[in-house]
Symmetry: D3
Subunit: 281 residues, 6 copies
């Protein structure tokens, strides 16, 4: 797994500049002579799923293009506590100045991948996909959606423009499910999918009768309702369940026959996975 460098370089460069500020790393510049070289390793402090190793590597490269980097584990790998995932050799100044930025990316993205993996494991064997939402950190969506994939999850919409998602207010403003769907269908091209959020099974019935929809978001429904929805839909469209899901509840929901369970928690509240930089010699 990896992301094209042209997509991630701007955000990594901006993060380095955020940390360097106007005057740069005044501690390192004052104490460490320019020519000093150093060898270091990024080590997992806890076990989890890796995501962002190339992003971390890029932080060092942007400060010292001549740095030598050895990526030992790639994104999507499960790492053990104490495991080295990357080694870096180069000027001490570049390594010390990039350290925090590299780790901030790696810890956050691996935290998301690890949280996603946890949910994926809960639904293991049911055929249900775990999907993320748009509840991501502002201006880091590309990286966080990537981390979800590294955790074994699937991506929902990347934004407001790549798929239609009709919600309550759209239905209310349109004056009903049918009109809302028709307007959406007329407004977009043949390569845009349409999903609609429904609150109850009566709305689901209306959606099924109207047609022209690719997926339905069943918000906060009970396992019993979800099971009934599966029976009604008969595989004609994708069924997605959402809502605050505890582990036990998630497994029960996954066994109802729905296709996708989506979670905002994996991006907005996943705790960071701890990594550190250990220096050698």
């Amino acid at each position: 797994m990896s992301l094209s460098r042209i997509l991630i370089e701007p955000v990594v460069r901006e993060a380095l500049l955020e940390d360097l500020g106007r005057a740069g790393d005044i501690t390192t510049d004052a104490i460490i002579p320019a020519g000093t070289r150093m060898s270091a390793a990024i080590v997992a402090r806890k076990a989890g799923r890796l995501a962002g190793i190339d992003v971390a590597a890029l932080a060092f490269e942007l400060l010292d293009p001549a740095v030598g980097i050895d990526v030992l584990r790639t994104d999507g790998a499960d790492v053990a506590a104490g495991e080295t995932v990357l080694t870096v050799d180069g000027t001490a100044r570049a390594i010390l100045s990039a350290e925090r930025t590299a780790l901030n990316f790696l810890c956050r993205l691996s935290g998301i991948a690890t949280a996603t993996r946890t949910l994926v494991e809960i639904v293991h064997g049911t055929g249900v996909a775990i999907a993320c939402t748009r509840k991501t950190t502002p201006n880091l969506r590309v990286l966080e959606k990537y981390a979800v994939r590294a955790g074994g999850g699937k991506n929902h919409r990347f934004g407001l423009d790549d798929a239609v998602l009709i919600k309550d207010n759209h239905i209310a403003a349109a004056g009903g499910v049918r009109v809302a769907i028709e307007r959406a269908r007329a407004g977009v091209g043949h390569l845009v999918k349409i999903e609609i959020e429904v609150d109850d099974l009566a709305q689901l019935r209306e959606v099924l009768e109207t047609g022209g929809v690719d997926a339905v978001l069943l918000d906060n429904m009970s396992p019993a309702q979800l099971r009934e929805a599966v029976g009604m839909a008969k595989g004609r469209l994708v069924l997605e369940a959402s809502g605050s899901l505890t582990p036990e509840k998630l497994r029960e929901i996954a066994e109802t026959g729905i296709d996708v369970a989506s979670s905002g928690w994996i991006t907005h509240s996943a705790p960071a996975l701890d990594f550190g930089l250990d220096f050698r010699s």
Copy 2:
């Protein structure tokens, strides 16, 4: 509390554009007529400490400068579950298209403020300040440090350039505590503070003998060690304790007489505080 608009507008604008993508909100544009007006409220789903209300308001304003916004609670306030913190009136398109961006900022920043407040309450009465670290989300540091202040915490360095923090590697590269401090002192102006991280009390002693330092970071020390450090320092410099702190451990540490306890957790792993947008009429 508030942040200057010139500082936050670029990040909010970038976040809106991240969500709008190339084609904009295709669902809303297809279904909601341009002239439709709407009234809505941001409501806390859980109790916590508010941060980011002006950022959320700005998201709506950037999509519709004529929007009417009423900020009911300001940053730093404690809000109850169900409490309305902001109302917005304007074009339905602008409100619906800005909704997720506004909430993403508000939930994350209030999550940080709430986590900070929790730690601040634990140390209540000890005189110890809770400080953040540089373990922040890439490119959101200004906002996250602000949220820490909204939670009652204090800010540590904003970056590598506004204070000196001498760590193991700097000491090792310099060949000792004394040389490292002297190089740092010689390298910066009279308005830059110098902090040094020490691993044991012998190092602390060397620091005290050398002088020229404003603060010491005591990493992962036991309450007993911290107490001894307090006795050694005799108020001549600021003592900061850091390390993974459980609530019980934090209280015990705070009672040792140190000045500052710093936590990465309040920024890198604080769960989001849940807010939603409720539509009216």
Copy 3:
């Protein structure tokens, strides 16, 4: 029809600065006193379909926020030669300096809308949609895709990331149609459509047997082949015909029963529609 200002302002601002260069409009600044006011009208020199009127208006507003603009015809309207589509009152300097930028946008976008309308009229009554491609002017895709919609056309993918389009090389690299489709299906979420390009009907058969595809791009096929493809597909997926289409050929193709005909010509080679700025008083 309209585009959100937050999406178009950066490109209009950049275009004004491209024309103003370093020193600004040296002719106007030297000759016209700062306070001079002017009234002018944008007039169609030829008949066609309007697109970009808000973009043109924004060019004037960005140079003089106090300018008075009256938009007489909105995007998507058919205008006659000699028809006034917008009037503007304000400082003469702002109007003269923004004139060329405003017209450059309007002429290009209306040219695309007009070309699209021509194709839409040719297929009138067949139920076929005219779609654009990614053969757009670099860095103007959002505006050009919008102009296609103003011309009555539909948008194909906005980029490489909002839908899957499997081509020859993907099939060859994967080792066959089935593997390519399976990899694509596994790689994307449930809100991403998949289209595949086929060269002959044997490939189409393989696609139909494999399933999991939303649309097929039939490249450079004869009407007879297209008709046969329609019979094979039986409405199970969207059929899109592409290739250099003359008007006669387009009508014949549209009558085969396919769903979409896509054209690069409407964006990469549509001649500009001529508009001018007439000054009054």
Copy 4:
């Protein structure tokens, strides 16, 4: 012929990012393994004048700095249908993801060069130069003016700031030709040329009497009028004819003795020249 890389890299990078969007080339990333290598050639589908070959090459390089590129024909060359102009070897992902962006630049710029060459050939032997205008695509002026030069044409002003062009409205606002010229002359330095647009020969006479002007734009004049203008000017200043010029009319005008004929059509309405990317083994 070539353009400095520092000038074109930003626009090519922006165009790649426009196409890659947030998630990148999801088709290629899902189907083509990261290590797969590929060899391909850009081939002219029609005969014409080449422009933009370095721009196309840069698109590939920006996605894969290690790509091997062989530029077989340089800008300004006349290419035959079927002729290979560039070969590229590198990672299949980079080549496939950059393909459309590379071709979009090359087809547009070569279209402009080809259109320019057509006009240049029409005036062959008359000594008349074909010049472009400011009727260029927003934010692509540098590249389009370069393509005009590749087609054998000359550049008119690059913007509002590098030469003075006095038009009707300037004359009207100033209260006459003489005042307008005097204000312009007083307002600019000794390295800025002044051109003035005249509607009839009486105005030309006034210009000649006033002096201080380097060139005159004779708008929409008949060959007879132009011939008379040539007689009046006696080589004391540059005479430029403009207006919608058909090929026959252009030749006739070129034979009147004027110096420059300018055309907006070569930039605003030139059809793209077709190029394709052919893959090899």
Copy 5:
């Protein structure tokens, strides 16, 4: 005199953000309550020529759009020591935070205008124009060239692209004056002027024989040589003298009959003109 806001806002905004850094004006934010209002005046501490008053005003406006500003003297005016040039009323925070940025622009630009005025006065009555060079502060050229105009000077080239200036190395690389001029003439359009630098009168003779040149730069010539050059040129092209000019030498040179004297000193070494912000009530 004034500059279009669209040209100067980016540089003023960038300068404010440079001063505000990440955390903003921490002194003012801590001490001055948000609602406090203030009245202040920008006062000249020394006499000189004013330039940049609108730039200074914009600094305040960007921090507080509701600020009330009264511009008492406009650019190009001669101000006395102690004279108030601008008053500002608004939030104390905005005024205090923008103060330094506003003054930094005003002092520098007025310093340049004042230095220019000094040279202009020295050559008074000779008809010689004082021109600037490209020896300007990086990224402030537009503003500094504007300040030269405010000082009564004229602008030389704004960059490498708006006029040709042939120097020694160009002549050497071309193999002679004639070839260099011919290549330049062939390479640019009819609205670009050509100047050539000559070291001695023999070269000037060659230039005059070749023709096709608009101006000649006579570098470091004595008054006697300049006088001879004037005799040779007979008004057929513009003669510009350059070189480090003391006041006495400048007057003597101006009296030789040349047209333009250019000075790098007025931009690269002009001392700032002192202004301060005085607070009232």
Copy 6:
């Protein structure tokens, strides 16, 4: 001495683009063939302190990454008139096009370093540090503060956010010295220093009684007052003198026992140090 490339590349790139404009170096492109190579040297025309040599080198590298550069003297060195500080070999076009930008940086920064060195020499032996202010050129502060260090000076605040500086207006708005200091102390973290400006010794006494302050700015005080201030402060905080300082006055002030003397002149009015580019063979 050196600055991290990631910090200076954006400003150097922007400066090159400012000079290249839209069309690039039209003189060089027209006259010098693309393949021509050249060798040149940057030579000091006057003696002074060097600053910005890496910035100058970067200007050449950004136009031709293959250029060969030999830096003969590093920043902070004292150079003699006629001394070569850098040689460059590469394409003639790159060298000629970057020449002015490279020199503009070098002359300005070396001018600042030289001015700083002059003041440093005046106070030699007194133990007083020469510090800069925030009176820097807009958007060049990082480079100018670096040049001050190259001249042997120390940096004052980099902006409004890295240290507290309490001035008259803050004291007035707070209602007194004590309140102002208390608010500042409460508003910032433990790594931020606080300085306060005082007008007389009574204020200094109040500051000393209040405590909690790291430094005091003594504005425009006489040597006698300064001496008294030194006696009052007894080394408990840093004493900084400021005000327009002539050389004689500066020495006298430095001998009073204060710690720091700050000067705006070294950044806002230092004359450029002259360097030229000499071509070889």
